[in-house]
Structures are given as C-alpha cells and as structure tokens.
C-alpha cells in the first residue's frame, strides 16, 4: 500500500487544529468522515481515557458507535480518527501502534505551548498552537505505521494550504 493519500478540506484541517488547541494540554480525538479518501467532515469525540488525558486518548465503544451512526447520517464512510500530541511531535507512538486498527487513517496533530509571552498576549490566543499534522496507516502485519500524504482539497482556502506541511 505505497503512498496512501488523504485529502481534507480547509474547514476540517482548521477544525482539527482548533480542537487540539482547545483541549491542550490534553489530547483531543475525533472521527474523520468522508468518501474515497477525502475527508469532508470531522466529528469531535470526548476523550474518555482513565490513564491521564495529557498522554492518552480513548474513544469508548459507545462513542465509536455514535461516530458510525453520525457517519451514516452524513452519508459518508468512517475514514479514520484524529488525535493530538500535546508538546510532542506528530509521529505515532508505540502506544498508538499497539492500539491501532487497520485500514483507518490516523491523523496526528502536534500542539505546542506558545512559550513566548509577548506573542501570546498580542494574538489574544490560548496557551497552545497546532503545528505539524500528519497521517498514518497501520501496516497489515501490525509491525509499524506507514506515513501517508496529507493533501488539501482543490477548493480549500489558499491561506490554509502552506500550513499543512509546515
């Protein structure tokens, strides 16, 4: 499965970043809905981990079912899930690998603290900013993740595009 591609609209890209910034320093998570590897909507889900949301996320079965239901209502397929890595790079961890499902696209967004006080007050922003975003797929033998290519939909907002790979 060489070079798998995932395309998302600028709205989805922005919504995922916002979600990660809002929940910082905790991890956020949600479902990716669309068709034919194009994400047209994301569904934020509660992080129900009991191991500390700064380092873990968990979508419990009832919320998963809910996501499937919402996906059907939106007329799409469940393409995968996104989650944030607060203050850590946008690369899957061993824990991600151990808990991964095949086929799904795993989008990871790195969210970092804005240490620069001056910049923070100037922008009137919260304490964190979304940085890199990547997409990963589990190899069939569960041995590792393969990084896919994250694209923007043709009609996406011109300002958002450079941020995706930045």
């Amino acid at each position: 499965m060489a070079d798998r591609q995932l395309t998302m609209t600028a709205e989805v890209d922005l919504a995922i970043r916002r979600h990660g910034e809002e929940t910082y320093p905790h991890e956020c998570c949600g479902a990716l809905v669309g068709r034919d590897s194009v994400v047209s909507a994301c569904v934020p889900l509660p992080n129900t981990t009991e191991e500390g949301p700064r380092r873990r996320f968990l979508v419990r079965p009832s919320d998963y079912r809910d996501a499937e239901r919402q996906t059907a209502a939106l007329g799409g397929e469940l393409l995968g899930f996104y989650h944030s890595h607060p203050d850590h790079p946008a690369r899957p961890s061993q824990y991600d690998l151990d808990h991964a499902w095949p086929t799904f696209a795993y989008v990871i967004v790195s969210v970092v603290a804005t240490n620069d006080l001056a910049r923070r007050s100037a922008e009137q922003e919260g304490g964190a900013k979304a940085a890199d975003m990547t997409v990963w797929y589990l190899e069939d033998d569960r041995s590792s993740f393969e990084e896919g290519t994250l694209n923007h939909a043709e009609n996406s907002h011109p300002d958002a595009a450079p941020a995706v790979h930045g």
Binding site: G52, R55, E68, L78, D87, H88, D96
Partner: protein, 495 residues
C-alpha cells in the same frame, strides 16, 4: 444462525461485508468460526497470546461480554454480535520529547509509576481533582526525588511544601545548628529546637507533616569532593544556599550532571529565582560569569533579610520543582525573576544561554568541579588563632582591662545605626563602614583606635582603610560586639 457485525476498519478482511453469518453456541466459538473464514482478521482481533486485544470490544446485542461471561457468553439464534472498536492512542511516555522535562531517576521510574494508597489518595485529593496533576501526576511526584541544599530560610518552605505535596524522596544537606536568630524566617525550626542540629529538627518537622515522604539527611558541608555523589540520585536540585562559593558549586555540579537547579536567593527586601542547568537553558554562570569581589555583596547575616522573603522565594522554587516533575506549564528556564517586597513587584528578565559560558557553553573550560573558595576569592575558614595578632587586633577581655585601667582608647563602631540601637560598647562612636572614607577626618590619627562591628569582619576592613590613609594606632576588636558580650558583658542582647 447468529450474525456478527463487522466494523468499518475490518471490512477489507471480510470482502467488504458488514455482517456475516457464523456458527457456534458461544461468543468464542463464533469468533473462531469467523477467523477461520476470514484469516486476515485474526491478527487484529487477538494478540500474540491468543487473547482478545484490549481495544476490541464484543457486544452481544447491547451488552459488553466483559459484563457477561466473556468468550463463554452463550449466543442464541437471532442474537446480534458486534465487534466495536475502542480507538486509543497517545504520545510516547518513555522519552521526554520537550527537553524541559525532568528525567526521573531510572531506578525509580523504570516500569510503572508507584501506586497511591487509599490514605495518600485522601491526602492528595485537592491535587488529584485537577487534570494537570491527577493520579498520573501525583504518582510522578511520588516517584520523584529532590535534593535541597540548605535547611535554612529558603530550604524551610521548599522542604515543607515539597513534603506536603508528596514528593517521594527529599534530601537535605546542612551542617548548621538552629540559632535563635534563625527563627524569624526558618519555619522548619521552632523555639525548642534551638541548639539542635538543623537536620534533626527538619526531619522531625517534615515527618510530622507527611510521614509518606522519605527524608534523607546529609550532615556535611557541600564541597567539590562530595557534590556530584550527593546530587547523583536526585531528579531536581534546589539551591537554598547563602554564599557565592556554594552557589557556583551547585550550579556547576548541576550542569555537569544535567540536572535542573531550582535557584533562589534573598537579600533584605529583594529576591531572585530561576531554573538553571537544564539542557538548552542558561545556567547561573551565563548570568554571572564571575563572582563579585569578596565583601562587596553582604550576606543576610550582615545585611539582614525580611523574614517572609524566603517564604515567597522558596515557594517559587518549590513551585518550579513541582512543575518540572509534572511537566506542566512554563518553567522559569531562560527567565530570571526578581521580586521587590517593598514595591510588591515582580520583574522578569530574559536570560539567554551564553555560547561562551565556561561551564555550559559550546566549548566549556570547566569540565570538573573546581576550588570554589579560591574562585570566589574567599579564604577557607581557617581555625581561629587562640591569641590575637597584637599589632592589628585586640581581644574583648584585653579591651575591658585597658578601659578599666583608664587608658584613652577610642572605640569606633562601624555597624549600621539600627544595629547600634540593639547593643553597643559604652563610650563607642558610630561611623558606619560606608561613611568611613568621608568621615575619617573626625578621628585623630594620633589617638589609639579600636574598630568594632558585629563579629569583626567589617571593622577589619575599616581598620585596613584607616591604616592606608596614615593611621598608625588602629586595632580591630576580635569577635566584634558578639565577642564583647560573650566575654565581658553578657547582660546585653545578641542578634
């Protein structure tokens, strides 16, 4: 025949079918039949030990089989069995990626964090309900170890709050004895502790505060010989020292070992705090490459300190220590905090790592601990000579004898006016040390002068100055007014 519903991610392994009819009387039998028909599913449903993976949930109708009879749960015709994913993940916890976090000591942190007992959960409940601490953070605190240099003004609030917060192991280094003059600020110690070793007093106090914390005491003066060995087992070092040689020693040892140094210092109404010694962050020497000339910066014993000031600065050091352990917030790394109690203002200076820093720069010249007394121009405390040097010094007993004999001697007290109000030698005149260069012409160079201060250090400098401007008969009162009170006039108060 019962049906198994297949979730989206597994459908590529079932020829895209979302529901499959399978045979069997229990959940286990159905799943065995399913994986026999669709072999690709097995690796994703079961782990290497043949157990269902933790994130695979099997429901019979609307019940999780974990609450039924697990894989032995019976299934009847018409039941619907669903495979429902839990989706989980998270960041690496074995490596600290942000560089600012503390690497907790391997022997304590390897494997799972220590569990909390029910008593501990009760004790730390106000921590546990905050998401930034929580169970995980409290267990990190329990796994952590902090070494506090000094059990005095700064060490008191640092050790007490860290013990109260549940830091698992607290080390204390000190060699002093509790004195009455400590009690105005060193709240680890009480009036009944006067005369006891500070460490014994501190240990009692901290044990009473939180018996869950392991207190390790080191009754020794920190030195270049023992510092690295003492620091080695600790995660964070808290600098509560009151002198420059030890401050540079703590800084250099922390940089050499790569351990964070929660720094604080206090004088009169002002305090400073920062976090040094962290990789990529500046150290004390990036700020002050050279110590001040000896005598230029007075110590708290000479200049005084507001009693609450170590409370404020020490609590900042304890806060930074806890933040480093919890890996939360913005540490005082590269930031130098200055507190002014009179104006009640905090100022913050940006500190940059100096690439030319002799300890933490790109080409360090200090690669091991040096002689810090020599570096700071301080002579190591030599044993007191039993007899005064007659040419330059006079003892309190001799001074008393000369005064009783009616000799004409002028006693010049070079302390500050507020010290002069506490106690004085009858007949002395007050010329504070700072005024001596302006006012020495009030003194007669032909007259025999005895210079005096609290313990003899300031007056020795005043005597040296007077000799340099031509005074011949100048002697320094050995031991200062404290010596006078001890040996001649015990009725006066000491401070």
């Amino acid at each position: 025949m019962p049906k198994i519903l297949i979730p989206t991610p597994l459908r590529p392994y079932t020829d895209k079918q979302d529901a499959i009819d399978v045979a069997g009387a229990t959940v286990g039998e159905l799943l065995a039949d399913l994986t026999r028909r669709h072999g690709g599913l097995k690796a994703h449903l079961y782990n290497e030990q043949g157990k269902l993976r933790s994130f695979v949930n099997i429901y019979v109708n609307d019940e999780d089989i974990r609450y039924l009879q697990h894989e032995q749960t019976p299934v009847h015709s018409g039941d619907t069995v669903s495979i429902i994913p839990s989706v989980a993940g998270g960041v690496e916890t074995t490596t600290a990626a942000d560089g600012h976090s503390v690497r907790l000591q391997a022997d304590r942190y390897d494997g799972p964090l220590p569990e909390l007992t029910n008593d501990e959960i009760k004790r730390y409940s106000r921590h546990l309900i905050m998401p930034e601490v929580g169970m995980e953070g409290q267990r990190k605190l329990k796994a952590a170890s902090v070494l506090c240099i000094g059990a005095g003004g700064l060490g008191s609030p640092v050790a007490m709050y860290l013990a109260a917060a549940g830091v698992g192991r607290l080390g204390l280094v000190d060699f002093d004895v509790v004195d009455f003059s400590n009690l105005q600020r060193q709240i680890l110690h009480g009036t009944p502790d006067v005369g006891r070793s500070k460490l014994a007093s501190a240990k009692d106090r901290l044990n009473a505060l939180n018996p869950e914390v392991q207190i390790d005491t080191y009754e020794t003066a920190l030195s270049s010989q023992n510092a690295l060995k003492l620091f080695e087992p600790y995660d964070v070092i808290v600098d509560g020292t009151d002198n420059f040689p030890t401050r540079y020693l703590v800084n250099d040892a922390c940089v050499l070992l790569g351990k964070p140094n929660a720094y604080g210092s206090i004088f009169r109404f002002e305090g400073q705090a920062s976090v040094f010694g962290v990789k990529d962050g500046p150290c004390y020497r990036c700020l002050y490459p050279e110590p001040p000339p000896p005598g230029l910066v007075p110590s708290c014993a000479e200049g005084g300190v507001l009693g609450v000031l170590p409370g404020i600065i020490g609590v900042i050091q304890a806060t930074e220590t806890i933040k480093l352990i919890l890996e939360v917030g913005e540490p005082l790394i590269g930031r130098f905090l200055i507190f002014d109690a009179l104006r009640m203002k905090f100022r913050e200076l940006k500190l940059r790592k100096d690439p030319d820093c002799p300890v933490c720069g790109t080409h360090p010249t200090v690669k091991q601990l040096i002689d810090y007394d020599q570096f700071c121009g301080v002579a190591p405390a030599a044993p007191e000579p039993a007899v005064a040097d007659n040419a330059t010094e006079i003892t309190a007993v001799e001074l008393k004898r000369r005064l009783d004999r009616g000799d004409t001697l002028k006693i010049v007290d070079v302390r500050e006016p507020n010290e002069y109000q506490i106690n004085r030698i009858p007949g002395s005149v007050l010329i504070p040390l700072g005024d001596v260069p302006r006012r020495y012409n009030e003194l007669n160079p032909e007259e025999e002068l005895v210079m005096q201060c609290k313990s003899g250090a300031r007056s020795a400098r005043a005597a040296d100055f007077l000799r340099s401007v031509g005074f011949k008969k100048v002697r320094n009162l050995k031991g200062g007014i404290l010596g006078w009170i001890d040996q001649v006039d015990p009725s006066q108060p000491k401070y």
